[in-house]
């Protein structure tokens, strides 16, 4: 009976179907789980303005100051971490009014290195690929497609409130991520 070719074929097909089915049912939940974080906001940073301290330290015609942007709470998958440094901003005073401040993200719009201020030349320099930016943020030389990104700020009761925004890199105009 074991030699009947139809029966053997049926056995083979049945085995493959059954085995394949079991394998699929086994693999699908695992694959689904691994795909879960894609498209999810697994790290949530605050969207509201963050307090960056008093505005008194920003004086007219002084070089920009590097200010660390610290989130009171961020949620990173399962962790709720407090006082997390998100990045830095360059802030300088551009007028006499309390809110006459200019804040630029320290993230280079080219490939995301941290931009420094070159005090001797009076402009910004990205240390990775030598992009230079004027003190007002405009692009000067180097590979960056655009100037330093402006960050939304407001002044409340003499304190600087800044909204942290990440922009896409390598574009000629700033687009929030």
């Amino acid at each position: 009976m074991g030699d009947d070719p139809d029966r053997r074929k049926f056995l083979k097909v049945a085995t493959c179907a059954l085995g394949g089915g079991v394998g699929l049912v086994m693999a699908v939940p695992a694959i689904r789980l691994v795909l879960d974080p894609a498209g999810k906001q697994t790290v949530t940073t605050p969207k509201e303005p963050l307090d960056l301290g008093s505005i008194d330290r920003f004086k007219i015609s002084e070089p920009p100051q590097r200010v660390e942007v610290i989130a009171p709470v961020i949620k990173d998958a399962w962790t709720a971490a407090r006082n997390v440094v998100l990045g830095a901003a360059w802030v300088r005073r551009i007028g006499p009014g309390p809110a006459d401040l200019d804040a630029r993200s320290a993230i280079c719009p080219h490939l995301g290195c941290a931009v420094g201020f070159d005090a001797t030349k009076g402009n910004y320099l990205c240390p990775c690929h030598d992009s230079r930016f004027a003190v007002n943020g405009d692009k000067l030389t180097g590979p960056s497609e655009r100037g330093l990104d402006k960050l939304p700020i407001e002044v409340v009761d003499g304190r600087l409130k800044l909204t942290w925004v990440l922009y896409r890199m390598g574009r000629s105009t700033p687009e929030p991520v």
Partner: protein, 625 residues
């Protein structure tokens, strides 16, 4: 086409066309167990790989990441459940595989090595389960591991070294988890894979021991279909069980300070029961008995040496094996029966389950603090205030027996509460248990006078007259049962406030006025306004409503029930603006508690005003004790 592809592959892989692998005596469901075990190992590998993409082996993050898998990641509970219960399935099927092999006499010469490798695999599986159970870093896994390592540490001479190596140092911590994780996902998988390959290759070389005198059948597809069917059935049962249980359990975070009714995984329950029965000899039993069982399994092919395979002619050794398995089974049943008959344990488990649900809910809603999962409790609403309250305030204000001050509970400071207070300030719920009512100076004075009078009377009338019953006034002075009548004799309670004589709409108006002091949003302003006049007539003699002004003989009531008022009161209840030293036993807390801490407690008291007992219960337990 198929033949050409096969030829192509043979040439590329430098293999020759082989004769199909034949099974002596034909295909049988008796042979499926080995294949099912390999399949289950694959299930563990696939689910384990997915879990490893989420798990974080650190003492601060481990529990949090497992809770994330269980409660937040899509199908995480399913994959984790398959992984957890899949290990149980391996133990069950391995047991069946062992019994089937023994009954068939398949461990006999020349297949001893195959059997021994199988026994080794069984031991490795159990060790694998142990290394996995601790990774969740919850109360269950943590305490089970402490016991297991405790047993291992009892090994003579090298015990302490084993413990230190397992824990990665002197105590449980990050290195414990990284070690067990490395064992669980790298070392043991590699070792088990190698041993399994050796086991399978040797088994194939020897072939199966023919069960019947039927013609041989090719493995593919005759046996393969039976294998696939068995895998499908096994997986269907596993999946069904996982779904019915919503995956695997996860208790609250590991806490070395909180007691927990730790139980080992079910396949170690027989050893757990054995230790219970062994009493003081538990250490020896826990080490020796598993050794004897493993030794018996290893020795079986050497003891049962005759080539005879028929089960009915090997009654002695099969009987011995049955005895060992029956003992393990009976002990397992006894262990579970002991637990299910323990009412106290059941109560503790209900409490533990509540804590678990609370911790998981907090982790899901608030995230776990970066300081570690044991701090997840602190993310509960008003946790800090409630903790301070439980430590510093509850004894005097809530404890039914030892309470010394007024009750503070849901509705404290509400209109109903203010009204009840005004009607009976010396009631048991209010000042009744305070020295203010119990030992007011006038009350003491009266008591002393009474005593003196009695002594005088006794001297005059002695010896026939018994000490007289204290009259009504003396009873009132005693103040012991101040709660029984709303209208109290006001005389003896010189410092304590007398019950109000106001009633009806007048009383409600004064209540509204006092309620308005809290700054509550729902104040009836005209009503409170009416109360002002009544206050001047009835209350102003002792109290004041002016900001920062104490009353003539009672506390200033401006801001009563507001956060600032509570903060100030908690800081120093004996201040002139509040109760003064004469009227308050409550200690001042302005040294013990920082201003922000007092603010938090005050905020909690404000919250209590509108809270119900259900609201309070909904805040959940503070943390395990």
């Amino acid at each position: 086409m198929k033949a050409r592809l096969a030829a192509f592959m043979r040439e590329r892989t430098a293999t020759s066309e082989r004769q199909p692998y034949m099974i002596e005596g034909g295909a049988s469901f008796a042979y499926v167990f080995g294949q099912v075990l390999v399949f289950l190992l694959l299930v563990e590998a696939v689910s384990g790989a997915a879990l490893a993409a989420f798990y974080s082996p650190s003492s601060t993050d481990a529990w949090a990441s497992v809770a994330y898998i269980q409660d937040q990641a899509t199908w995480g509970w399913l994959v984790r459940g398959v992984h957890h219960h899949g290990a149980s399935a391996i133990v069950v099927v391995a047991g069946l595989h062992l019994v089937q092999t023994a009954v068939a006499g398949a461990y006999k010469r020349p297949r001893e090595l195959v059997w021994w490798l199988g026994v080794l695999l069984l031991v490795l599986m159990l060790a694998w389960a142990v290394t996995g159970y601790v990774l969740r870093w919850d109360q269950a896994g943590y305490w089970a591991n402490r016991v297991e390592i405790g047993i291992a540490a009892g090994t003579p001479i090298i015990g302490e070294k084993i413990r230190q190596l397992a824990l990665g140092g002197n105590d449980y911590g990050n290195l414990t988890l990284t070690r067990f994780y490395a064992l669980h996902v790298i070392l043991l998988p590699v070792i088990v894979t190698l041993v399994t390959i050796a086991h399978v290759v040797l088994a194939r070389r020897h072939g199966t021991t023919a069960l019947r005198s039927r013609p041989a059948a090719p493995r593919w597809p005759d046996q393969s279909l039976r294998d696939a069917l068995a895998m499908a059935i096994t997986f269907a049962i596993l999946l069904g069980y996982v779904i019915s249980q919503h995956g695997a359990d996860l208790a609250s975070p590991a806490d070395p300070a909180a007691s927990y009714d730790a139980r080992p995984l079910w396949y170690f329950r027989w050893l757990y029961e054995l230790r219970e029965l062994a009493g003081s000899a538990e250490q020896i039993v826990a080490m020796v008995v598993p050794g004897i069982v493993a030794g018996f399994l290893v020795a079986l092919p050497l003891l049962d040496k005759r080539p005879e395979r028929a089960a009915r002619r090997r009654k002695l050794w099969l009987g011995a094996l049955t005895g060992v398995l029956a003992m393990i089974g009976a002990l397992t049943v006894m262990s579970f029966a002991r637990d299910s008959g323990d009412a106290e344990l059941a109560k503790r488990r209900v409490t533990a389950e509540k804590l678990t649900d609370h911790a998981r809910k907090l982790a899901r809603e608030n995230g776990v603090p970066a300081t570690g999962a044991q701090d997840v409790w602190s993310t509960a609403p008003m946790w800090k205030a409630r903790t301070i309250y439980a430590q510093k305030c509850m004894g005097c204000h809530q404890d039914p027996k030892d309470r010394k001050g007024p009750v503070i509970g849901p509705g404290h400071g509400s209109r109903a509460w203010i009204k009840a207070f005004l009607l009976d300030p010396s009631g048991d719920e209010f000042w009744g248990r305070t020295d203010l009512v119990k030992n007011s100076r006038l009350a003491q004075q009266r008591e002393a006078e009474e005593k003196a009078r009695k002594e005088k009377d006794d001297k005059a009338k002695q010896p026939d007259d018994k000490p007289g019953k204290p009259d009504d006034k003396a009873d009132g002075a005693d103040g012991g049962d101040a709660a029984d009548k709303p209208a109290k004799p006001t005389g003896p309670q010189d410092l304590a406030m007398p019950a109000t004589t106001l009633a009806g709409a007048d009383l409600d108006a004064v209540v509204e006025l006092l309620y308005a002091q809290s700054g509550a949003a729902d104040v009836d302003k005209p009503k409170a306004e009416r109360g002002t006049k009544l206050f001047e007539e009835h209350c102003d003699a002792c109290h004041s409503l002016a900001e920062g002004v104490a009353g003539a003989s009672g506390p200033g009531l401006a801001g009563l029930g507001s956060r600032d008022h509570y903060t100030s009161f908690i800081g120093n209840p004996k201040a002139a603006i509040h109760m003064t030293a004469d009227m308050s036993q409550m200690p001042r807390f302005d040294k013990e508690l920082s201003l922000p801490d007092r603010y938090e407690v005050a905020q909690y008291l404000v919250w209590l005003r509108t809270a119900t007992q259900a609201d309070l219960d909904a805040l959940g337990p503070l943390e395990p004790k």
